[in-house]
């Protein structure tokens, strides 16, 4: 259970570090190929986890380009696979949020002498509530995912076995009660975390409209 959390949370953190600036750049930047890139990022949201697992597996396997690092069947490999899965989600949702906010802010920020590049931190900060939802969507994808972590992690007991892969294993062994119980724990865990974050978000949102 802790491994599940650690892998998925770290994956979301790294995906956010890549996805937030990337999404903001796509929203604010004006460069050739921007539209194509936006479509690509949006399309990548639908990447099948099994395929991502396979590609990361190929990259990390002994004969692959990163084979020397010996990362296959480690939690690190699982984090890498999940970062690949989650980054497009965060980037695409960030792009949309920041673009909408920018449409509202652009004229004012420009008038205040803020350059396009300098407006990115402002937009990210002022869009923080909506961006939190983007991170939650990414976390939801990561914590629920089986295929990729199964392939690159190998579902090794005490090393790379996470809750989803355990549930898959126990189900195929016929231990339905155990699988169901683990499933319940996973659901509670996921709901608790997303619920807590959105509650924090909602509280600051309601503060914003109070005294309106």
């Amino acid at each position: 259970m802790l491994l599940s959390l650690r892998v998925s949370l770290l994956a979301v953190v790294f995906a956010a570090l890549i996805g937030l600036p990337l999404g903001a750049a796509l929203a604010v930047g004006r460069f050739p190929g921007r539209r194509a890139l936006i479509i690509l990022v949006n399309a990548l949201m639908g990447l099948p986890p099994v395929v991502v697992g396979l590609l990361v597996y190929l990259a990390l396997s002994r004969s692959g380009p990163f084979g020397v690092l010996g990362l296959l069947y480690t939690p690190t490999a699982m984090i890498i696979a999940q970062v690949v899965l989650v980054t497009p989600i965060i980037a695409a949702l960030t792009r949309q949020t920041v673009e909408m906010l920018d449409a509202e802010y652009a004229e004012t920020l420009r008038s205040l002498g803020v350059s396009r590049l300098a407006s990115v931190p402002t937009l990210l900060w002022d869009g923080r509530l909506a961006l939190m939802t983007a991170l939650l969507a990414g976390f939801g994808r990561a914590i629920a995912e089986v295929g990729a972590v199964m392939i690159v992690g190998g579902n090794i007991n005490h090393v790379t076995r996470v809750m989803t892969t355990t549930i898959a294993l126990e189900t195929s062994k016929g231990n339905l009660a155990l699988a169901l119980a683990l499933g319940a724990v996973l659901v509670i865990l996921s709901v608790l975390i997303t619920g807590a974050v959105s509650m924090a978000g909602m509280r600051s949102a309601s503060q914003e409209v109070r005294h309106a």
Partner: protein, 246 residues
Amino acid sequence: MREGAAFRTDPRLLEASGLRLSKQGVALLNIDKLVLDGAGPTLILGPNGAGKSLLLRCLHGMIQPDAGEVRQGGRRLDSLACGRQAMVFQQPVLLRRTVQANLDYVLRRQGLSRMARAERCAELLDMGGLAPRARQWARSLSGGEAQRLAVLRALACDPEILFLDEPSSALDPASTKAVEALVRQAHERGTRVVMVTHDVGQARRLAGDVLVLHRGEVMEHTPAAEFFDRPRSRAARCFLEGRLIL
């Protein structure tokens, strides 16, 4: 006129020449020469679509005209007119932060120390009567308060020129009065005020000189006292008599 004006150009002098802007063959702005060198405030009057907002944005450097140039204090305006100019829009766009943080955002860009920022922020809030609202979310302010905050934010960077685009067109009389008071204060402190309005009464209350714009052209530019007595152009006469100009 400020002291020493004879030796160097007044930095608040605003000139535009040969300003042309058209879209899909329709001329939106066509101004040969416009000099704002009086004491002001300059009020820009005209019907919808006359190009008032466009002119303001050109003067502020937010829109690049097809031809012509804008000079402030004798120097060409760079595309980003930081610091020396500020603008208040019809619909204030406030950051999703507290009232205080909205002002601090502008002050921080000027590289002031934390102490100096806090001091200036308190001073501004006092000036706009928003001190009790300092920690409130800016988005929860009423329309009048929001516009006052937008004016304060524009004044925070001590602009030489302050543009206002119908700042009170959506406000009730009390809020309008508060905004006008702030504008008057800015004017008295030596900021050149250039303001677009629909409201002849507002022009009467504030104007030092009046500019009438119609179909993208300057119909007249007259000192206020003279304008309200004997407007030169037909458009201005119609406007003052409350008739519709088409």
